[in-house]
């Protein structure tokens, strides 16, 4: 086949970013409030909830892909959505993968705050809305680390997005699935070009994470 075209690289990269960033946004929107709620209160089911989250964090992404696949296939419980082999399915799988991570890290960050912190803020007469803002501000470094880690995880994930997305040209093909396909087809130039882009993205994220961690230290 022909050497990789810039148009193809741009299209696949753009789609990868759209899918991953959408999944990340949803994971954050859902996961942050849950993590904060779980982190602050001590309730009877807390240990069970934390165990569940830890299990979720350890779940292999490809297994998540399998489960989402089974759920979305035409004969499956959610087959009516017709989401299999579409971007929706990929975003869904990535959300399921990233969510436990977001919740878990947020929970830990909130839990590491001083017990008296919340009381102190309350007794300073800070209204409820502002208290939430302060809380997020306190844990913002931990949150940022969570975001970067989760994004790195779903950007480099291949098994689940291949299984539920199908690597359809022009529709569900992303960096990881494209690299896999080109490698299997022996089209190493394409594979390397895409691989370089993915590596570049991951290096940027790693650099960002380092900056965040260092600023936490200074």
């Amino acid at each position: 086949m022909d050497p990789p075209s810039a148009a193809m690289l741009v299209e696949i990269t753009a789609r990868t970013l759209v899918v991953c960033l959408t999944a990340l946004a949803i994971s954050l929107a859902v996961g942050l409030p849950i993590g904060i709620a779980l982190g602050r209160r001590h309730f009877r089911g807390r240990v069970a909830a934390v165990s569940l989250i830890n299990t979720g964090m350890g779940a292999p992404p490809v297994v998540v892909g399998l489960i989402v696949y089974l759920a979305l296939q035409r004969n499956g419980p959610f087959g009516a959505l017709s989401w299999l082999y579409s971007l929706e399915a990929m975003v869904l799988a990535q959300v399921v993968i990233a969510l436990p991570l977001v919740v878990g890290i947020t929970l830990a960050a909130v839990g590491s705050l001083d017990e008296d912190w919340e009381l102190q803020v309350r007794t300073l007469g800070v209204p409820k809305r502002w208290r939430l803002w302060l809380l997020v501000r306190e844990i913002r470094l931990g949150l940022l680390a969570a975001v970067i880690t989760a994004l790195g995880g779903i950007l480099s994930e291949v098994g689940a997005v291949m299984a539920v997305g199908g690597n359809l040209d022009g529709e569900t093909r992303v960096l990881t699935t494209a690299i896999l396909m080109h490698t299997q087809m022996g089209q190493l130039e394409d594979a390397l070009a895409l691989g370089a882009i993915l590596l570049g993205l991951m290096l940027m994220l790693a650099g960002l994470l380092t900056v965040v961690q260092q600023s936490g230290r200074s």
Binding site: Y85, G166, Q184, M185, G186
Partner: protein, 276 residues
Amino acid sequence: MTRLRFLYLLIAVALAVFACSDRAEEEEGDLLLVTTTSVRDTGLLGALLTVFEEQTGIRAQVIAVGSGAALRMGRDGNADVLLTHAPEGEQKLVASGAAVSRTPIMENYFVIAGPPEDPAGVRNASSPADAIRRIADSNAPFASRGDDSGTHRREVALFKEAGLDPDARWSSFLSSGTGMGQTLEIAGEKRAYVLSDIGTFLAFRERIELESLSKPAPSLRNVYSVLRVNPDWLDPERAESAKQFEAFMLALETQRMIADFGRERFGRPLFQPLHL
């Protein structure tokens, strides 16, 4: 454990791994056979190779990739013998000298499968090319391999015959770049038409609820050939093993096995031998 002890342990483990892998190298097959996934997936090759080893003592190591990749491996001398079904590419390989012989062994027919409702009216097509034209004209979903495999090349050939651009796309055209199995799954999920080899299709038919809508025709004919890679590039032993494999595939007994293969599982044979 102290740092030093850990280092020793690491070295010991590394050595052990290398030693084992060396042995593994020796235990590698005596013959590197490269074929396509569709051939492997039917199970025929596994059955034949068991008999081959019994008869000759030669153990073949099988690598299954797309036709394009298989031919490339032959061209680069990374295989001893090929079993593929891409006549044009195969002929080029022989012309270039990378393969010293091309021996057709068996054949079957591709099928054009699709949803039982058949919205594009493929059942009434006058030829496979016409079927493709109908699918394109009615903008029906079509799941293409998109991976330069033998099946994909056949798709392209049919497109050409239908008067379509080989890179034709219509809005519901799906190109997965994956193997036959996944492409069939996608076709099943999206209720799309698909070109498939008969073996894989039969294995997936019930699951995906698609039906074969085409009749055997010359343009769907699928010939499987054995190609021996240039013996000058190989160890003499391997070149000899390749010769024996080719002979085995032509042997009467083997051809009879091929004729029967698939009857039990699918009620009909998957291949027709060419030398009975």
